[in-house]
Symmetry: C2
Subunit: 237 residues, 2 copies
DNA sequence: GTCAAATTATGACGCCCCGTCAAAAAGTGT
DNA sequence: ACACTTTTTGACGGGGCGTCATAATTTGAC
C-alpha cells in the first residue's frame, strides 16, 4: 500500500474509533491532514472503502494471532484453548480492530466498496475459519472428537465462533448485563465454550475449573508471542 | 401512543427495512406523509428515536413469543426448546424486527435518544432474559440441571443467547458461509444449542437427531399460537 | 357566533456532508 | 526553457439535520 493511503488510514482510524462511523467524513479526514478532500478521493472512492481498508489491517492481525495459536503443540483441546485465548487477546488488546470488524456486519459497507477489498476480507475470514477447522480436523483424526454424522469441522467451528462473537457483541452492547445477573461475561463465555466441547464429547473432558485454569495458563504462555505479533504487524503498515 | 406517532412509525418502518438506516431521513418520512418535517420533529426529536420506537414494537413482540414459549407444559428441556422455537420463529417471520434489534447494537442510537425509551428497551430485554431464566431455574429445582457452582440462571441463559444471536448475525452478514463449509447454519445452530445442553448435563440427554425432531414438533405445536400473537400485536399499534 | 389564547404545523435557514470536476499546481523529460 | 503528464485543489450541486419565527388551526369562554 502506498505511503499516502497509509497516512489517510492512520488519520481515519482514531476518528472512527473515537466518534464512530457517522463522524468519519472525508472533509474531516482531509482537514486533519495536509491534503484537500479531492486528494483523499484519489485514494479511496468513499469512506466505506476506508473502513474496509482498516478492517483488512485488523483481520490480518487476527489471522496472525490464530496462526500462532493453531501451531501450538499439544492435544486438540489444548490447541482450541489457544485459539480461544487468541480471541480473548484480540478483543482485549486490539479493541479498535474488533470494533471495526463489527462495523462490517452493521453498516451497508458492502454496497459501495470495491470487490477486490471485499474479497480480501472474505479471504481472511475464510482463512481464520480454516485455521480453526484444522484443530477440529486433528481432533477427529486422533479420535478425541466424534462429531455428529454429516457435521464437518467448519460447522463445529461455527458454534465456537457464534459463542465468542455473540458473547462479546452482547457484552459490549448491553450496558445492563450486570444488572440482569451476568456479572462476568468473560467467565461465562469460557464456561460455555468448555461446556460445548464437553457436549460434543470432545476428549479430554474438563470441568469448568480445569478449563479456566487451562485458559489462564495458555494466556500466560502465549502473551509475549501475541504482543510480538501485534508490534510486528503495526510496523508493516 | 398517539395516532400521529404511529403513522410516522408505519411510514418509517418500510424505509428503514428497504433502504437501511442511512436512507431513513426526516425529510423523506415527511415527504411520504401529509405533514411537514417540523411536525415529525414534534413527535420524534431525531431519527434515532424513531428507530428506538420501532425497536420497542419488535421487542414487545419478541417478549410475547417468549412468554408463550415459557408457559408451555413439559420438562425444562422441552420448554427450552420452545424458547428456541420462538427465536427461530421471530427471525423467520419478523425479520424486520430482528434487523431493527440489530441496528440497536450497531449505530450510535444510544447517545441521541431519550432515557425513557431506552429504559423501555432495557426492560424488555431484561424481561426476556428473565423469562428464559425461569426455565433454567425450574430445571435446577427439578434436578434436571446442575449448573457449575456460582453460575446463576441468567449466566446459563447468556450462553444460549450468544449462540442464537451469534449464529443468526454471522449467518446474515457473512455471505460466503456456504463456501466455507457451513451449508445449513440453522441446523448447525440447533446442534450446538443441544450440545451445550448436553455439556451442562441437562437431563434428559438428547442426541442431535432427537433434538432436531423435538424442534420440528415444537415448531408445529406452537406455530398457530405464534402467528396469532403476531396478528394481535400488529393490531395494537 | 365571536374572539383571544393555546396548540400545532410549516418550511426556509444555517450548517455539515457527499462525490465531482474544471482549473491550478507540481513534477517530468528533453 | 518548454511541452506534457500527473497530482492536488476547493468550489459546486444535491441532500440531510435540527431550529425557530411565522402561520394555521383548535379550543373554550362569553
Amino acid at each position: 500500500m502506498e505511503r499516502r493511503a497509509r497516512e489517510i488510514l492512520s488519520v481515519a482510524r482514531p476518528i472512527l474509533l473515537e466518534d464512530g462511523f457517522q463522524a468519519l467524513s472525508m472533509d474531516r479526514v482531509a482537514s486533519q491532514m495536509e491534503y484537500a478532500k479531492g486528494t483523499i478521493y484519489n485514494h479511496f472512492p468513499n469512506k466505506e472503502e476506508i473502513v474496509l481498508a482498516l478492517a483488512v489491517q485488523g483481520m490480518k492481525l487476527r489471522r496472525a494471532l490464530f496462526a500462532k495459536a493453531v501451531e501450538q503443540p499439544g492435544g486438540s483441546r489444548h490447541r482450541l484453548a489457544c485459539v480461544g485465548a487468541a480471541c480473548e487477546f484480540f478483543v482485549s488488546n486490539c479493541f479498535d480492530d474488533f470494533r471495526i470488524e463489527q462495523l462490517l456486519r452493521q453498516v451497508n459497507i458492502w454496497d459501495k466498496t470495491s470487490e477486490h477489498r471485499q474479497n480480501t476480507i472474505r479471504e481472511y475470514e475464510t482463512s481464520c475459519i480454516g485455521l480453526v477447522s484444522t484443530v477440529v480436523q486433528a481432533a477427529v483424526e486422533s479420535g478425541e472428537l466424534q462429531p455428529p454424522p454429516g457435521m464437518d469441522p467448519p460447522e463445529i467451528v461455527f458454534g465456537f465462533w457464534a459463542i465468542c462473537y455473540g458473547s462479546q457483541v452482547l457484552a459490549h452492547s448491553s450496558p445492563g448485563l450486570k444488572e440482569v445477573g451476568i456479572p462476568d461475561f468473560g467467565r461465562a463465555m469460557r464456561i460455555h465454550l468448555n461446556s460445548l466441547c464437553n457436549g460434543f464429547g470432545w476428549q479430554p473432558f474438563m470441568n469448568w475449573q480445569q478449563h479456566i485454569e487451562l485458559m489462564d495458563s495458555v494466556h500466560q504462555q502465549l502473551s509475549s508471542d501475541f504482543h510480538q505479533i501485534i508490534t510486528s504487524q503495526r510496523e508493516d503498515q
